[in-house]
């Protein structure tokens, strides 16, 4: 595996759209070639070398390429977006669309990531050491196809609207979640180890939410159906099981209605 290291030299006046900061775009490219790639900013198109020092080179394929991005990246978007294989390491806080539309590979963010990370993600893995912003693993604006596969582990807290229109895959949040989790979801699984605020599973058709901590306000459309013993993320415990959102349509399987499930640890 070859490594490309990109270190930010100076802060841009506007946000940079780093759609090339992923193994697919950098595979088989030399440092000089990478430095010449476009890095759009507003209506201008600087090149990577204008704002980043580039060392190393891409591997023969995306799978053999590791991209390391260093520095204060709070004005850099799209790191790891659209990647299909390989590895990305983000050493610093960054902005929106980390790992959006990714289909494979692995992203490790050492800091905090911005909003709309993992938009419509289909596969691969994202690990976030810090916090994630709003709309983690949601659908693109207007779209009805949110996260469909893969796994996300956020060690800090997440913002609002996590997993909106989620259809598959798995999100584990070690910290707390802001309002709206798995709104409109039609599949997938979210584990919140900390506390939640409100509107968990609003208009949820299918899917599962596991909550270890407290919830400020429960959705009125979720009904308590009994207690179950479960092992979740290595923790064996008794959970209260709710089904919902009963205000939403629900498909039938073998004559039985399928509901979204919310398990709250007792």
């Amino acid at each position: 595996m070859e490594t490309v290291t990109l270190t930010i030299k100076e802060q841009p006046p506007l946000f940079l759209e780093a759609e090339v900061f992923n193994p697919d775009a950098l595979a088989s490219k030399s440092a000089a070639e990478i430095a010449a790639l476009p890095l759009p900013m507003g209506k201008t198109t600087p090149v990577v070398g204008d704002y980043f020092t580039v060392t190393g080179k891409g591997g023969a394929t995306a799978a053999e390429t590791k991209v390391v991005v260093n520095g204060d990246l709070t004005k850099v978007k799209y790191i790891g977006a659209h990647m299909s294989a390989g590895e990305v390491v983000i050493n610093g806080n960054t902005d929106m669309y980390v790992g959006a539309w990714m289909t494979g590979g692995k992203i490790t963010a050492k800091g905090t990531i911005g909003h709309f990370a993992a938009t419509a993600m289909k596969g691969g893995e994202i690990i976030v050491e810090g916090d994630a912003g709003n709309y983690l693993a949601a659908a693109y604006r207007g779209d009805w196809r949110g996260m469909q596969g893969g796994r996300i582990h956020v060690k800090g807290n997440v913002g609002s609207d996590t997993g909106t229109f989620m259809m598959g895959g798995e999100i584990v949040i070690d910290g707390n979640a802001d309002v709206h989790v798995m709104t409109h979801a039609d599949g997938g699984k979210t584990v919140i180890k900390g506390n939640a605020k409100s509107r968990l599973g609003g208009q949820m058709v299918r899917g599962e939410i596991y909550l270890f901590g407290s919830v400020d306000v429960m959705m009125p459309g979720f009904n308590y159906v009994g207690d179950v013993e479960l092992e979740v993320e290595g923790v064996k415990a008794k959970f209260a099981e709710y089904i919902g959102d009963t205000g939403e349509r629900h498909p039938k399987s073998k004559g039985k209605l399928i509901y979204g499930k919310l398990y709250k640890k007792k």
Partner: protein
């Protein structure tokens, strides 16, 4: 104005019977002429195909429901990234619901110069005309919808043909409309009661009139007014298995009626997106093609034309004044749904739809459209549309041409389907080896549509005297063998002239032209009864004042082309 001579191209013009002959086409003062002087600018069309500018008889490209589609589908632009402006082009984007600029540019790229907006809610006519005004290059007209209009329902119920005609002429003038459109006759009004009319005999609630009476009444009104185009119907029961019987019953209403007009139009009924109305079976389980029955009937009736509404197997946005259908569709696919009731006039719905080649129903819909076009005995009466954006975006016309012109391309499409055998089994398409010629394609895309619209004195042919609308495609019919070349060439005209002005030069748009809005001003006898009824309804029901209803020509229609008709008796 500049003179042009398009030299040595392979010319296809069914009106003049020119079938691929090498000919020169001369343009002067905005018109096609016999010859030009030595100073004319020469366009070398050797090895290229030359046709008149394309004429689209049915597309939803302007107005409130298109804009609802744009507003509620921000994700649509992910399918076609916005292009920045360059040269005379403004920024443009969108796939199934493109911006008005992209609409103009993409039609031009396909060699189209005239496009009809297929459904204008009269109440929102101003919005339609604002978008038409802002769409560059192409000439446009719009069809106001009448099939669920309270005035029309009441007059027809009482058998008042003259009043119906007088009201229609008033509304065409108020909305700057071009033709009579009728969408799900009675059904959209019934939707106001949560009901629908799925056969032509279902009575409309309150009004107690049937779709059959509405369709027949509107056909008669159309001929009374001697309009350029015929009544343009989207019949009841769209999109449902077994609906071909409703379609045949609707078409039969035109039997025995002959066209009265001074525009060379021969049909009295145009059935739109007939693919959606040619379904057999009783459920989605035994759903099958009845393209044969529909095509046979249209073939046999000279006073009917149709456009197909080819399904292109894309992710698109459906939008129609058929309100109950859109609700039905939303119940099927569970995606977002927008619905509007337009006061005394009509309704509308919008729902995104994914036509997937892996779903056999979608595959079959794709096959049924092609089957009808290939069963056509007279391509002058079977027109190219995708009911944009309902069955697919208009930008797919070149792809549809490829399927129509190449059995090999159709086979490749079949082979990519998950349920290939099931689809092949339920349509006649898999055994058809007919391949349409460019001559027939020219009928479907310009000559036939221009004639059906009553515009053959302006468009659809390269006869001297007609508008200087000419498209040159980089396609050599003598040497081309790869079907992909069809799609490529007809999606990117090499040269395009609109009213004698060079719009596309060597593949690049160089002018926004001087687009016109076509509308029809029919004079009828003074009718105090209708005037009184209109005033009464505005006072009693409309949310706007009658004085604020008219589309003010000077503001909304800055460059009109008005058809003046005298229908007084």
């Amino acid at each position: 104005m500049a003179e042009y001579l398009i030299k040595n191209g392979f010319v296809f013009d069914p009106v003049q019977g020119i079938n691929g002959d090498k000919k020169d086409i001369a343009i002067k003062d905005g018109k096609i002429v016999e010859s030009v002087g030595a100073s004319a600018k020469v366009i070398d069309a050797a090895g290229k195909t030359v046709m008149a500018g394309g004429v689209d008889i049915h597309a939803h490209v302007a107005g409130p429901k298109v804009n609802v589609g744009r507003n509620f589908r921000p994700e649509d632009k992910k399918q076609a990234i916005y292009e920045p402006g360059r040269g005379v082009r403004r920024m443009s984007g969108g796939f199934s619901v493109p911006t008005v600029f992209k609409t103009g540019y993409e039609y031009a790229n396909m060699g189209y110069t005239t496009v009809m907006e297929a459904a204008m809610p009269p109440f929102y006519a101003r919005h339609v005309h604002e978008e038409i005004r802002d769409t560059p290059i192409i000439d446009q007209g719009a069809y106001p919808v009448f099939g669920n209009n309270w005035f029309v329902l009441e007059y027809l119920k009482n058998g008042e043909a003259e009043n119906t005609a007088a009201y229609i002429s008033w509304l065409l003038r108020m909305t700057k409309g071009f033709a009579i459109k009728c969408v799900n006759p009675g059904g959209t009004e019934a939707w106001g009661w949560g009901l629908n009319c799925t056969s032509i005999h279902d009575p409309v609630p309150y009004f107690d009139i049937t779709p059959a009476e509405i369709v027949k009444g509107l056909i008669e009104a159309n001929e009374y007014l001697k309009l350029p185009h015929s009544m343009h119907v989207h019949s009841n029961n769209l999109g449902n298995p077994g609906n071909y019987e409703t379609t045949l019953e609707t078409l039969k209403l035109a039997e025995g009626i002959s066209a009265k007009n001074d525009f060379g139009r021969e049909q009295v009924l145009h059935h739109t997106h007939i693919q959606f109305h040619s379904y057999g079976g009783t459920t989605w389980g035994d759903f099958e093609s009845r393209a044969d029955k529909i095509a046979d009937y249209v073939n046999s009736q000279k006073n009917i034309t149709c456009d197909i509404g080819f399904v292109t197997l894309d992710e698109t946005t459906t939008m129609t004044a058929d309100g109950p259908f859109e609700h039905h569709l939303c119940e099927l696919n569970h995606l977002k749904w927008a619905n509007t009731d337009v006061e005394l006039e009509t309704g509308s719905g919008v729902v995104p739809y994914v036509y997937s080649p892996d779903i056999y129903v979608c595959g079959l819909q794709w096959a049924i459209g092609l089957e009808i076009a290939l069963l056509a005995k007279d391509s002058m009466r079977f027109h190219m549309t995708t009911d944009h954006p309902n069955a697919g975006p208009f930008t797919r016309y070149p792809r549809v041409m490829k399927w129509l012109m190449s059995a090999k391309a159709r086979d490749e499409m079949f082979a990519g389907m998950k349920n290939e055998d099931k689809v092949r089994d339920r349509t006649g398409l898999s055994t058809m080896d007919r391949e349409l010629s460019l001559y027939e394609i020219a009928m479907m895309t310009r000559a036939g549509t221009a004639k059906a619209l009553g515009l053959s004195h302006m468009y659809g042919s390269l006869t001297p005297g007609l508008c200087g609308d000419v498209a040159v495609y980089d396609y050599n019919p003598e040497t081309a063998s790869d079907p992909e070349a069809i799609e490529k060439a007809f999606g990117k005209a090499a040269f395009l002239f609109k009213q004698g002005e060079l719009i596309i030069n060597d593949g690049e748009i160089v002018s926004n032209g001087n687009k016109r809005t076509l509308w029809v001003n029919v004079k009828t006898n003074e009718n105090p009864q209708v005037e009184r009824d209109i005033a009464l309804k505005f006072n009693k029901f409309y949310t706007v004042n009658q004085n604020n209803y008219e589309v003010a020509a000077h503001h909304y229609v800055p460059n009109p082309y008005v058809f003046e008709i005298d229908a007084t008796v």
